[in-house]
């Protein structure tokens, strides 16, 4: 089962404790065979995107973020965390619904 189908069928997946991701940073998770990068924004909210940079395969979870974008650590391409759109002419990345439920990170609607 791929993540997108699980997300579209309103499944909810608990990724782990919110405390696992320090504010302003990202961590990778493998969900249903796919690797996704989850970011804990400094405004408290969460974002989840595909973990691999479509440019040259960089680890997006190691990238720096603000409340809008993630910057890949390898070549500094940037993507909008809400839409997945590139700000530097690269293909878009997938975006997944994610939220905090109490102390937990919950993937899915």
């Amino acid at each position: 089962m791929t993540l997108s189908t699980s997300a579209s069928s309103n499944t909810r997946t608990v990724l782990g404790p919110l405390a696992d991701i320090p504010p302003g940073e990202g961590r990778s998770y493998v969900v249903g065979g796919e690797t996704i990068a989850v970011f804990h924004l400094r405004d408290g909210s969460l974002r989840a995107v595909s973990a691999v940079c479509p440019h040259k395969g960089g680890p997006l979870a190691d990238g720096q973020i603000d409340n809008r974008v993630v910057v890949c650590p390898l070549h500094l391409n940037a993507w909008d965390l809400a839409t997945g759109c590139s700000q530097s002419g690269q293909p878009p990345i997938d975006v997944y619904p994610v939220r905090a439920d109490g102390d937990l990170i919950v993937l899915g609607d």
């Binding site: 993540l3 990778s28 690797t35 960089g58 990238g63 603000d66 650590p73 391409n77 700000q87």
Partner: protein, 820 residues
Amino acid sequence: MSQRLVVIGNGMAGARTVEEILARNGDFTVTMFGDEPYGNYNRIMLSNLLAGVETEDGIFLNDLAWYQENGITLNAGVKIQRIDKARKVVFGDDGSETPYDKLIIATGSYAWTPPIKGIHHPKRGYHQGVFAFRTLDDTRAMIRYARDHERAVVIGGGLLGLEAARGLQNHLNHVTLLHAMGHLMNTQLDAKAGSMLKDSIENKLGIDVIVDAMTSEILGKDRVTGVKLGDGTVIECDVVVVAAGIRPNTQVAADSELPVERGIVVDDQMRVRGESDVYAVGECAQHRGEMYGLVAPLWDQAKVLADHITGRDLDAAYTGSKISTKLKVAGIDVASMGLKEPATDEDEVIVYSEPRKGVYKQIIIRDGVLVGATLVGDNRKAAGLIQAFDRGMALPEERAELLFDIGGPAGEVAPADMPDDAQVCNCNGVSKGAICGAVSAGCKTVGGVMDKTRAGKGCGTCKPLVQRIVEWAAGGEVEEDPAASWYVPGVPMPKPELMAAIRKYELKSVSSVFDKLVPGGEHDAKSKMGLASLLKMMWADEYVDERDARFINDRVHGNIQRDGTFSVVPQMKGGVTSPAQLRKIADVAEKYDVPMVKLTGGQRIDLLGVPKEKLPAIWADLDMPSGYAYAKSFRTVKTCVGSDFCRFGVGDSTALGIALEERYQGLEGPGKMKLAVTGCPRNCAEAYCKDLGVVAIDGGKWEIYVGGAAGAHIRKGDLLTTVGTAEEVIRLTGRFLQYYRENANWLERTYTFVPRIGIDRIREIVVDDADGVAADLDAAVEEAVQAYKDPWKERAEPATPGQFRTSLPLTVLPQVPVRS
């Protein structure tokens, strides 16, 4: 109903203005009057016509069909004699009366004839064999006559005279150029440049040039046989061309009670002073006391006039033009702009002169801005100079770069000459076409285009070329990048203001800087690293370290590789190691199956391909301090074997290198700091091209060089000073590095920083303590030295949850079961 627009003058100014009005869909019925019985031709090209490199067809800008297609009534060959402002009517010499609602006077200029005896013939205007050089008819007649004659004299050594002389060579054997002033092109050039041009004209073209030549008489009874000069010299000739200057055609305006001084006086909207419906444009117009005889200002005037008369932009204003010319004068490159000579003692004048090649270059700089330039014999740098002059751009500290292409192929090509698929950015593979595409998609700042295309975001060497392409593609409509002066893109302040604000509000964390200093408080990912570096430098151990402000390299103290693994470079001070250390490294490399072990350029050993999660264990087994091969910080001190073993060494470079590294290890800064100490001027440790390089010289002394580079940019460092002891080297190194840390822009390496500030100024501050800040710099760097902690000790307990957890599926990640 459309308004009636009458244009007096069908030259370049009149026709161009009408074109601009048509382009704005101005609703006018246009009637044009021209003295000459033709459409509109490019007067500048008459020289080419004379020289035989252009045909008559080729010089026409608007043929008669154009007038027809645009519904313009052209009265070619009809001269307007008077304007009746009250009745709004113009009177032609054919007896016609033409009413107007709006009137444009674009009468241009006529060729001025100096009062020389015998130049005129009572019946036929000029004496037979004498020609002016202004119109197509003049040129035709001149060509026809010259063909059957032998020797020509051109009176006037300005631009037009030179062109005439060159063109006439095409039709007869011998040309002499007479100029009444002391040097050629005296309006544009200083005496030196003028004399250089004279030499080239004589030696390369074979035209005789006589300066200070007052022509007193044209000789010959029914046709020209020679000219006589004021000193009695007689020059035999059968053709005389008068190119002694032009005067504006203002008679019709003066006769019609319009304000005329040197030209017809106009306001900033190109309206004749005091008139609401009469405009004047081009060579006949006098604007803010200036008259212009070149096309570029004319184009600007035409646009403003058209904006105003059509109501497209009633606030459009012409505020004058900065005059610059770049041309081939009689086959020789000449460019001039602004001042031809310095006006005050403070003006900075840079002159290069190479008479044998006929090359002369002069630039005049005032308050850091280009106010004048003259080039003769080599126009390659003209475009850049004109741009710098027009826009008052900041000039390179290396003034020579204004006159010559120094190094770097990026400096040489003109954007217009490059094919679309030419690769501009060799790091990120960005073509000229891609850059132009970003511009035409609406990106009008250099920074914006760089962000969008990634051009110039690699090593940065191509940035100047990217900038020129953007400027070229935007057709001069490049917007100032407000962020260009900011320390980081997300906080709108240059470094000094930013530091002052950080101190004022005691901002000790990166997020507090965004919250307090950015309007709206928006955080910016790309600014975090620079701010973290700055805050750490400013607050040392009071700095509130938010881990997310760090780049991944600084979070895990290794350099991220293309596959998401990291490199591990232990400290190896001065590049000196021991069998025990090597054995330990070998054991670790084997134990962890390190895919590659490599010597670095900084004389250390690199363990490459280490997964993030293994870093703490490797550090523990190595039990060596970090070599900082990943941070914007003090990196290494490369050394040679110095005096211990080398038979040439004159100083103990290894000991000094180790001492420097021991003291300044890990010091963060706006950019990397790579150092070297070499034991003699043979420079085996490559100290001349380091951020700071120390060279032992005979007599127990040490030279300190700063601002060197041997990466994408190659630069030999500037000699800061020579000192007598290793202690002084260590002290001045700290002081210089601290000055750099406090004053350089983010990611500005010393090779840019040092020339920007100037080595003399840096020496004043760092060596001579002219500003009295040396003690503060010493204290600040001492505090940073004391705050040093080996980051590889941060291994027993991760600093944050999952600090060393992998981010790529290289190994098993937390497997989260999916539940439906």
